[in-house]
Symmetry: C2
């Protein structure tokens, strides 16, 4: 019997087939889409490979910048120089750290500041599927092509929400000042950053490797890891489209407008009664309902 | 100027003194309390020491069980056998894994199942300070003695919310079936678990070490790491009260009913206007407003 003790907790939440939970509805293969290799970024860390899907519909110029930086090998050999537990892992050249300041200046001339793409017209970003729940931070939340999205029909804008795994550009105080530095949300959601920075993708695989990164101290130099030797390296960043076809990893993301994803949401709303003695409120939280992604063999 | 690029993001959120953010109000030393060594659990992992503060007001029997298990050296040499990225790190004897099944049976006879302590009478848990924001999962949320707490005055109960860092007991399908296995929330909040499991503490230091733990695969055996060699060990668990006084780490937690914590909340509600071009909604999220804790030298 004790076999269940340690397992029952996930039986419901991980939607695995378990004795303690009803088998989840089989997800229809037609309800998954391939990730375009032009949008598939592969970040090699010393702990493993991280896969990011870019969202050019939301931030075309930032997505294009990511591709250009990759092709210029800008990130190769740089570092995750500012990593704050429960907040973000920030990577790139690390301007401002003593070790890279002069190097940084010469490199950065090549990459002029981008105009902010904090949000996008609703009509440009694809089908929005509402989560059906209220939210503290936006009038509507849901998914677009697998990305966690909030929108406001008053101004007709949609934006990628700062959930765990959201990939975005850091910037200076000016709106239009992002150049090369990126960050990934590695903690609790950071929805207060929504529409204040340009989010242009999300991690679809390998979050656990980012979680292994050495941390800075939030109160010291705002989390920048002071000794460069303690900064974990970005070994290499590649765009899947640039790899020979046979070497490209093949990822799929569930279609968030599909019946399969609707079934997953319904299942989360109605967890196994034999474990959930108190039924949770009938709401879903956006950042707790990430669209499943999988790597095919 | 680019020095700010990489830093401005935290300038506001980490409440550090930075050129880009107004200096936070100095926090009054009288607004901090010492952590009772009887409630201070020290978990040695191979990555570093994790400090947990127990909350006996919320779950007296579970807190007592933790102390008893520690003093019996129950956890020493056990493992984090089920770790799911973005969800929980579960540790203990790992009943149900082939490697420990027989060993587990003999040990577990010593630790009979506990009655659930999913919530506690409001009057028993100390001063509740509201966050002042609405919440999707409970009528009221706020803090009690540094713990993230939700409450419902209709039935007069309060409970520790499943935020990142919340320390709780796993159980079987029955309410009253927790024995020895614990878990810590390591991902996005898991508020759907509130009042369905007994939460009895929170991590006040060392979350980054739990984030380094090897992960299981959520879809395989519900996240239990199949090869015991891949399970990171729990090297040792100690109660600070059992250490010679000179060797005890000294932690303090901000008093969440104090003006200093109120000032931190006000600061988060009103982030630096030179960076936040769009003011975030005037709400705070419980799990994004953890009570600061610090280790004194």
């Amino acid at each position: 019997m004790k076999i269940i003790t340690s397992l029952a907790l996930v039986a419901v939440l991980a939607a695995a087939t378990a004795s303690a939970a009803p088998a989840p509805p089989a997800s229809n293969p037609a309800d998954w889409r391939d990730v375009d290799p032009n949008n598939l970024v592969l970040i090699d860390t010393k702990y493993g490979e991280v896969a990011v899907e870019l969202a050019p519909d939301f931030a075309p110029n930032h997505a294009a910048r990511v591709r250009a930086l990759i092709r210029a090998h800008f990130y190769d050999g740089k570092a995750f120089y500012r990593v704050i537990d429960g907040f973000v892992a920030q990577g790139g050249i690390g301007e401002g750290t003593a070790s890279t300041a002069s190097y940084g200046k010469s490199q950065l001339k090549l990459w002029p500041a981008l105009k902010a793409e904090f949000d996008a017209p609703v009509a440009k970003v694809g089908t929005f599927t509402t989560l059906g729940s209220p939210d503290l931070f936006a009038p509507e939340v849901g998914h677009v092509n697998g990305f966690p999205v909030a929108r406001d029909m008053k101004d007709g804008k949609a934006w990628i929400a700062h959930c765990p795994g959201t990939f975005a550009f850091a910037r200076d105080n000016s709106d239009d000042s992002a150049t090369t530095e990126f960050y990934v949300v590695i903690g609790e959601m950071q929805r207060r950053l929504d529409r204040n920075l340009t989010a242009c993708g999300r991690v679809i695989d390998g979050m656990q490797y980012l979680q292994k990164l050495n941390r800075g101290i939030a109160d010291v130099a705002q989390g920048v890891i002071q000794n460069p030797k303690d900064q974990d390296p970005i070994l290499r960043v590649r765009l899947a489209a640039d790899l020979p076809e046979a070497e490209r990893p093949h990822y799929q993301v569930i279609k968030t407008e599909s019946p399969s994803f609707a079934a997953k949401k319904a299942q989360k709303l109605n967890p196994a009664p034999q474990f959930y003695h108190r039924k949770p409120p009938q709401v879903l939280d956006l950042c707790n309902m990430p669209a499943p992604a999988k790597r095919l063999p």
